[in-house]
Amino acid sequence: MSRSRRKNFNTVDAASLARWIVLTAFLALTGLSYVYLTIQLYHLGDRKKALENELASLRTQNDVASAQITALTSRSALQRRLKEGYLKMIPIAERDIVRLTIPMRNDGDNAIQPVANKRAGR
């Protein structure tokens, strides 16, 4: 090889090239990762919102069901059903009640004896 030809020949600095390639690849990867992660964050946000909506919907359904149960088991509703004949209740008579304590005696006031008013019993 002549001297002049050897002079015009450019050698490739492989190490430098590799460094640039790695750096470019790293930057590209970083950029792509940023974009990917940002998109993922949006997706996760949407997913979070969807789950929140689902949870709120379940809570709402639960509250509506609770309200319906309360309405159906309220005293007024039960009395209405009792009147309509859907429910049957037998009142407990006084003679069916067993008392475990001894009845109190009222000896203090012997001058006045309260009366029983049968008319009062509706």
Binding site: S74, R75, P103, N117
Partner: protein, 587 residues
């Protein structure tokens, strides 16, 4: 100057430096000096403060039965700047929400960003509308979660529970007085929307969670309330009074166990209620109490040791001229003991007891019993009644006030006064709120009984109590108030109604009975008041004949519910005929 390449190059560089310096300064000015202003302007365009509503607390009775709670609903709102097809939206929303199209179109005109289209839309209906909007790709309509107040028992206990306005602020009853606890604290969240109006979760800003309202537990027992409501309804059917009030109270603690008024209204249809139906007459209506007030005169006389229960007072054979006017008894009485003045309900006797005590002292006792001041119950709108000081009394006031005329008291004040007799002379503050808890059951506040003062000595209270037992006997004015198996103490009242044009209205009475059971160890004090009851015969329109039997029926059922033990020796009932004869001859 020599324009060589180096100079020209330097000049160009300098020009660029100057230009970019200007840009930099402008950027610094915009980004730093004007940052807040422009950030605010930008935020206004796309950042919203979303309110997260706190759930209002429930109202429960003493046994945790729900009296008032919430049902989820939605508020449909519009953002006029987001609407993409106004005509289609008007057609769809008007049809779904049953709003006139013209009204809706008018609302959506302009550039307003928050337009409430309809409140309290059921969740199912809102979901249906939401789906249709999505299917037709219509934008600008939003849904806000909300709740509406539901009262499962309708009209029962309506005056005590009260109700809320559309902004969930309590405006009557416990809903009003306990609003600060029931209401809770709304939260918020700063959010950003995209062009489609959807929230961008990534850009959520500051956030504060809501604090739900506390639950309020009442002292009212719905079982007892139910007994009272049934009886007051029966009384209204039987006697058609203009107004009626029944109160049950535990004398030792002041707990209100039941409270009912007529007329009343359905809490779930409150918009249809008339104002007179909404009044809690137990605390805002003033009445002349009639003879039930004689307990105050007798208590003052005994407590001041002016008389003993057996002291004999001449009752002028039923007609006493005092201060130039005649004072009548319903029956001529000669000598009566202090005890019998209450048993027979002698007006002359009660007047002489008050005169014996003296104007000033008697007035003091009236005030000590709590008349003329608010009881302090946790209900809004309570009045203090009308008690004039002795300086404003006429010559005959001292004879009229002991029989419950010339004064105005509320039914609750009368109940509290009777409770003081039942409670050994201790005046307690009536209470309707038992405790306040969080949604998970943690107690925030538990209200304890408040003894205001010792009005009379326990001995005097016992003496009055013994006399009041006689009232509910075959010798007294309220034999019809008796309950088989129990000793009852009580007092009847029959007050002629005041004519708005002056004087008293003939033939119109406020009849009442106030008593407690069992007389030895009272479990509850009750008051029954009927205003202008219509009886078949005018001579039957007396407290003992009208209010007494109502009290008897309530007391009998309440005693059974509270599992009170009846006395064996008084189980035998007197013949009905005897009771009827006894009643016919007494007030």
């Amino acid at each position: 100057m020599k324009w060589n390449p180096r100079t020209r190059c330097a000049l160009v560089c300098l020009a660029f430096t100057a230009l970019f310096s200007v840009f930099s300064c402008r950027l610094i000015y915009l980004q730093m000096v004007k940052h807040d202003e422009y950030a605010g302007l930008a935020a206004e365009k796309h950042v919203y403060k979303q309110t997260i509503y706190a759930e209002r607390g429930a109202v429960l009775d003493a046994n945790n039965e729900v009296l008032a709670h919430n049902v989820p609903v939605e508020t449909v709102v519009a953002d006029a700047t987001h609407i993409n097809d106004a005509n289609a939206i008007v057609d769809l929303v008007a049809n779904e929400l049953k709003i006139p199209k013209g009204e809706l179109a008018e609302k959506l005109q302009g550039e307003r960003r928050y337009i409430v289209l309809k409140r309290e839309v059921a969740t199912a209906q809102a979901n249906q509308l939401r789906e249709q909007l999505r299917a037709k790709n219509l934008r600008g309509i939003y849904f806000e979660h909300d709740a509406t107040r539901i009262y499962p028992n309708g009209a029962m206990l309506c005056h005590v529970i009260g109700f809320t306005d559309f902004e969930h602020h309590g405006i009557q009853g416990v809903e009003g007085s306990m609003d600060q606890y029931l209401h809770g604290q709304d939260g918020y969240r700063y959010i950003e929307h995209n062009r489609a109006g959807q929230e961008m979760v990534l850009y959520r800003g500051q956030e504060r969670a809501p604090r739900d309202g506390y639950n309020v537990h009442l002292t009212v027992d719905l079982n007892l309330q139910n007994i009272v409501e049934n009886e007051i309804d029966a009384a209204v059917r039987e006697y058609s009074p203009k107004k009626a009030t029944i109160i049950l109270m535990r004398p030792q603690t002041g707990e209100i166990l039941a409270m009912a008024n007529r007329p009343h209204f359905d809490l779930n249809q409150r918009s249809e209620a008339r104002p007179e139906q909404m009044k809690n007459r137990a605390i805002i209506d003033m009445m002349e109490p009639g003879s039930t007030f004689k307990i105050v005169a007798a208590a003052a006389a005994l407590n001041e040791h002016k008389y003993s229960p057996d002291s004999i007072i001449f009752c002028e054979n039923g007609l006493w001229m005092y201060g130039g006017t005649a004072l009548h008894d319903h029956k001529p009485f000669g000598d009566l003991s202090v005890r019998d003045i209450l048993v027979k309900s002698s007006n002359v006797g009660a007047a002489k007891l008050a005169i014996g005590v003296g104007d000033q002292k008697f007035y003091e006792y009236i005030r000590r019993f709590g008349f003329g001041e608010r009881t302090g119950i946790e209900l809004p709108g309570e009045i203090s009644g009308l008690i004039r000081p002795p300086q404003a009394w006429s010559k005959i006031s001292i004879t009229r006030i002991p029989m419950g005329h010339e004064i105005g008291v509320t039914p609750l004040q009368m109940t509290v006064a009777m409770a003081a007799i039942a409670n050994g002379g201790k005046l307690v503050t009536p209470r309707i709120v038992k405790s306040i808890t969080t949604a998970d059951g943690k107690t925030i506040s538990s209200l304890s009984p408040v003894v205001l003062r010792q009005v009379i000595s326990p001995q005097t209270a016992r003496q009055i109590g013994n006399a009041l037992r006689g009232v509910v006997s075959d010798r007294g004015t309220a034999a019809a108030a008796a309950v088989p198996g129990f000793t009852i103490a009580g007092k009847t009242g029959t007050a002629q109604k005041v004519d708005p044009n002056g004087g008293y209205d003939k033939g119109k009475y406020v009849v009442s009975f106030s008593g407690y059971l069992p007389a030895d160890q009272p479990e509850f004090v009750g008051l029954v008041v009927l205003d202008d009851a219509q009886t078949s015969k005018p001579e039957l329109n007396y407290g003992g004949m009208v209010a007494g039997p109502i009290f008897s029926r309530i007391a009998e059922k309440a005693a059974r519910y509270l599992d009170l033990q009846p006395h064996e020796e008084i189980r035998k009932a007197l013949p009905v005929e005897r009771v009827a004869l006894t009643n016919a001859s007494h007030r």
